[in-house]
């Protein structure tokens, strides 16, 4: 049985990775997960300079989901390249570094710094973090600026570049087309939905940052729809995520058109969720007589489906 996939140049032995920001810098879950069994490890959003992140509270639980406003807390690309990657490189698992910035130049410099760092197999470009807005720049909500970021990153690295799309837009397909045109090697979706919660007793927003990003099972239908729509329109491989807890959830994404999937909030609920998904997909393939995972990609699109 073949479970290996190729995500825009990143060779994964199975289609399962972690969603950025939910699996730290890779080693936090090692008591629970044999990391070498993952298709890839995607690490926390990394910026040019270290960032402290937002004031607490940074999370709040919502029905079947959670809001987070971490605010891209990270030690900066220098430390990631110098201290963290050496510890991960030995695992033999492709590491995807998620990158973010406030300016095009930031993105380019982070990308350049990571080029050639052992272990880094690709970059996932966060153009859509709802929790950080500096100078009003929202790369992720305008096709033109999204294309510019894509070109800036592509021009600064030889690594495969995955552009991570936001669901907080009118037309995800237009965004996908723009970054595809600009040279992206793959797309990942979805980032969190912009949301908020109010503390009714204190009559104030719960989160220190007021608004936050909604993730978890609650958003899965939105994410599956995004993958479905973009798969039909754009010929790039898709890394699907949003509320994946089990293999069946992951299969929804794959059948809709995702080449690979990421487990995010699901890790918090079940620290073994990634491996349970890997095993569950194999089981499904066996039960249903599939010998190559790639046959399943987009299979639900085959008959009809008039979106």
């Amino acid at each position: 049985m073949n479970t290996a996939v190729n995500l825009g140049g990143i060779a994964m032995k199975n289609p399962v990775t972690t969603a950025s920001g939910t699996f730290g810098f890779g080693l936090e879950y090692q008591d629970y997960v044999d990391l070498q069994r993952l298709g890839a490890i995607t690490v926390k959003g990394t910026t040019l300079k270290p960032r402290l992140g937002n004031p607490p509270p940074r999370i709040v639980e919502t029905p079947s989901g959670m809001l987070n406003a971490i605010g891209l807390q990270n030690p900066g690309v220098e430390q990631v390249a110098e201290e963290i990657m050496p510890r991960l490189a030995g695992l033999g698992v492709p590491v995807i570094v998620n990158i973010a910035g406030d300016t095009l130049e930031d993105y380019a410099r982070v990308a350049r710094r990571l080029d050639g760092v052992p272990g880094v197999a690709g970059l996932e470009v966060n153009i859509s973090c709802p929790n950080v807005k500096k100078g009003g720049i929202q790369f992720g909500s305008d096709p033109r600026t999204a294309a510019e970021v894509t070109r800036a990153v592509k021009g600064s690295t030889g690594l495969p570049v995955i552009i991570k799309l936001s669901p907080n837009v009118t037309d995800m397909v237009a965004m996908a087309e723009a970054v595809a045109e600009a040279g992206a090697d793959a797309l990942s979706m979805i980032n969190t939905l912009l949301g908020m919660a109010i503390d009714v007793d204190r009559r104030r927003p719960v989160l220190g940052n007021v608004t936050g990003g909604l993730s978890g099972p609650a958003v899965r239908p939105v994410a599956v729809r995004a993958v479905w729509q973009v798969y039909r329109a754009v010929a790039l491989p898709i890394l699907g995520m949003g509320g994946i807890m089990t293999a069946r959830d992951a299969l929804e994404f794959i059948l809709a058109g995702a080449t690979a999937v990421a487990v995010g909030t699901g890790n918090f609920v079940n620290p073994r969720a990634t491996l349970d998904v890997v095993e569950g997909i194999e089981q499904y393939m066996q039960n249903h007589g599939f010998t190559d995972i790639n046959e399943l990609v987009g299979l639900a699109q085959r008959d009809g489906g008039s979106c």
Binding site: G21, T22, F23, G24, E28, Y29, D31, Y32, K44, L52, G53, P56, P57, R58, I59, V60, E61, P63, S64, G65, M66, N68, I70, Q73, G216, P217, A218, M245, T265, N267, F268, V269, N270, P271, R272
Partner: protein
Amino acid sequence: MSRLMQLEITGHWEHVPGVRVMEFTAPHLARAAQPGQFLHIRCGESSDPLLRRPISIHAVDRQSGRVKIMFQVVGKGTAWLAGRRDGVIDAMGPLGRGFTVHPPAALPESANLIVVGGGIGAAPLYFLLQELARAGLARRVKVLLGARNARQLLITEAARELGYAVRVATDDGSAGYRGLVTALLEEELKPKPGYVYACGPSPMLKALCVMLRDYGVPGEVSVEERMACGVGACLACVCRVRDAGGKETYRHACVDGPVFPAGEVVW
């Protein structure tokens, strides 16, 4: 090393109204646990509630392999937990950095070790008292407990049974001193220095940390922050601290804490 465990419930009862004790038989956990560490517990089978709930380890019997938690029913997670009569509980643990049972070497032999608990914050302190006794430090320890009223005092009798001297404070004066437990602490700190272990609601910890600074007394406090992962991966559970160089930064309650040096926490 922490583990994902299916803990078998071997006992579960109401301790005082609204506060319950659940007992598991889990020899590995009993061996590994340190006082102040916590379990990260899945409260339900569906996706609502979604996140695990952090609950401290309340008591450990290494011989029998029994481990207890003590929890207050405050919302839907703890309400679900309260409804479990038997079966297993899905928990990660032991997690976090707990109390340093052996006080710093620099501390004079004469200094008191003062254990201060407020409300449900007393839960992890019982395990600390078990360990302080095991380390032969019991006679140096003073236990100060606060609660809203006499019925809500949680570990007074149990601490006395371990041989500790216990003083209590209640908001309504229905037991012991009428007022805040920090007032009792001040009485202890005035005559002589000490080393303080504390757990309780944030306002209490804040007042306590100010007092420790004023008296120049060291100690450690267990803080509560909202957690998602429990293992340092999500960066949710930040606690603002002043680092060695005096600079303010964030630490993560789930891995750097929940117990922090009292002097480091920025309130």
